[in-house]
Each structure stands twice: as C-alpha cells, then as structure tokens.
Symmetry: C2
Amino acid sequence: MLTNKGKYGLKAIVHLARLEAGETAQVANVAQRNNIPKKFLDAILLDLRNAGMLRSKKGPGGGYALAKPARAIKVGAVIRALEGPIAPIACASRSAFRACEDCGDIDTCPVRSVMSDVRDAIAGIVDNTTVDDLVQRSIAREPLHADYAI
Amino acid sequence: MLTNKGKYGLKAIVHLARLEAGETAQVANVAQRNNIPKKFLDAILLDLRNAGMLRSKKGPGGGYALAKPARAIKVGAVIRALEGPIAPIACASRSAFRACEDCGDIDTCPVRSVMSDVRDAIAGIVDNTTVDDLVQRSIAREPLHADYAI
DNA sequence: CTAATTATCTACTAATTTTATAGACAATAA
DNA sequence: TTATTGTCTATAAAATTAGTAGATAATTAG
C-alpha cells in the first residue's frame, strides 16, 4: 500500500524534477501546487534530503532541488526512503528480512513463497522506473503534447 | 502490504487444500496447527466462506473444507476477499477505483501512472497463482520430497 | 547589525486501521 | 437432550498514519 506520505513525496519530487536546471522551489510552493499539507511535506522532504535525493538551502531564495539527475533517482528509492521495505510481508523482504513469529518453517511457507514473487514483481517496476520517466510520462499526457496535436 | 488477516487466511486455505478429498477440518485445529488466534480465524474463514471459497458444516464432526478444487482458487481472490483491492492506491484500482482528493488531473498524475504498473505486476502474480500451486510448492520443499531424496 | 525568510527539529495529538476478544446464538450429531 | 461446532454482533487494545504546534537555525537583503 502506498500511504499519503509516499504519494506526497513522489508528487513533490516530480515537481522538483520539472524545475529548470539550477532552480529551486520552496516547500510552501510545492505544497500549495500539489494540495499537500505544508507541515507534512516539511517532514517528507527532510526524509528525502537525508536519503541523499534532495539538497536544500535555508533563507530567502532558498528551497529544495534534486541532488542528482532525475534519471538517477529510482521510484523504488523514494518509496523505500518514505515507507520502508517494499515487500508485502517482512519474511519476503530482501533489505529487511524478519521471520514471522507464527511461522513454523520459513522454507516451506506457502505465503512467503508467493509473497516473494510479489515482492520481485513490485521491485521489477519501481526499481526500473526513474523520476525522469514519471516526468516524461506526465508531459506526454498533457493536452498540448498529446499525440493528436503533433 | 499483507496483513495478518491475509496471511492467516492463506495459511488456513492451504491447510484445507491439503486435506484428503471429502475431509473437513475444524477451526480450532487449523488455528492450533498454524499458530493463529482461534477467534480471529473464525472471522477470517467466515469471510472466505461468504466469498464462496469454503463450505462449512456445524455440529460434531463439522468443520470447513474447500468449496471447489484448489486449482480453481486464485491467491488473488483470497487476498481480495480478506484485504480488499490489491492496488497500492485507490486511483490505480480496477475493481475499486477512486480518485484522490488532492489530485488535480488523474490522466497526467505520475503517481497513478507508476502505481498502475505496480498493480498490474502484483495482479500478474496473484491472479496466476492458485492455492494448489502453493500446496505443490510446499510439498516440493519438504525435506522428504527434496530433489536429492529422489 | 537587523529583520525577514526559509529550512530543521522536537514534541504532541487525532484519526484510522489492524488485531484481536467476549459472549450470545444457531445448527447438527450422538 | 446435551455436547459440539460454526455464526454473528459488539467492543476494545494496539499500532500505524496523518497531521499540527511551536521553537530553532541558517541565510539573505538592506
């Protein structure tokens, strides 16, 4: 499940990725443009900054910007930074494995088996989609850039 | 995310799928063998019964059994019955679509775009894996049936 | 230096969801 | 008729999510 935190974070990072090179955006602006509670976004952007995806600057004219090219930021990294492991269940996680307390034998557990497949399927998407991919798709779908307008 | 409810439900239905043809199992037994709180499992099996996957019989000698062959029950159906839609976010759900309140334009939303892909990836696994598949995998991984024992 | 601006940090609260539990009721078999 | 087993309603504890309040720190402009 993607919580509001993850959703807001993805929207915000796409917003930042669409800025001109060198430009920054302030939290208040990103929040307003994307209908995100400002205080909540404060905490979210801080997480993404601490994860190395954003850089920030205080004071007048300050704000946030990507710390690296949008094509170098995977959607999976954003989600993991904000929501933790992507596996549907801890025993199927690669980065944060933990056995269930109720589980007799992890090797024969049918739930773990299918949930590991699900984990891999999710990773196959989020770790092969970058923030730049999202920007390009958004642009491609905006009315003025639709196919029939070419 | 798979909650305990979904995990317990999957374990229980696999348990029932491993019974002899015509045999039933009582909730108390399924609960004990799988380390599931009995009262919680009561509610779970009821959900699966109401979804048409299980049949039940009251009284002495009663219990639960599959309502159809294990190969006709998809993991996705079990999860949906117990946890609702599989999409990570409502706007990416096919069965229970709902727009986000904060979303300006659903057609260009980058979050919805990638989460739709994730939804399809998850469905690709859970809707192509049956309860019988889980049973077969469990059996194949049990020590006495391991490859080296052939 | 001062004042305005903007990010950072800590602490807290409210709402929602998950994870159950209690106990009465209904059906069935011996 | 009694013991057994599923069914149903109501409730509560625990955990997670979603936010808010308010002080602090850094930077810029004047």
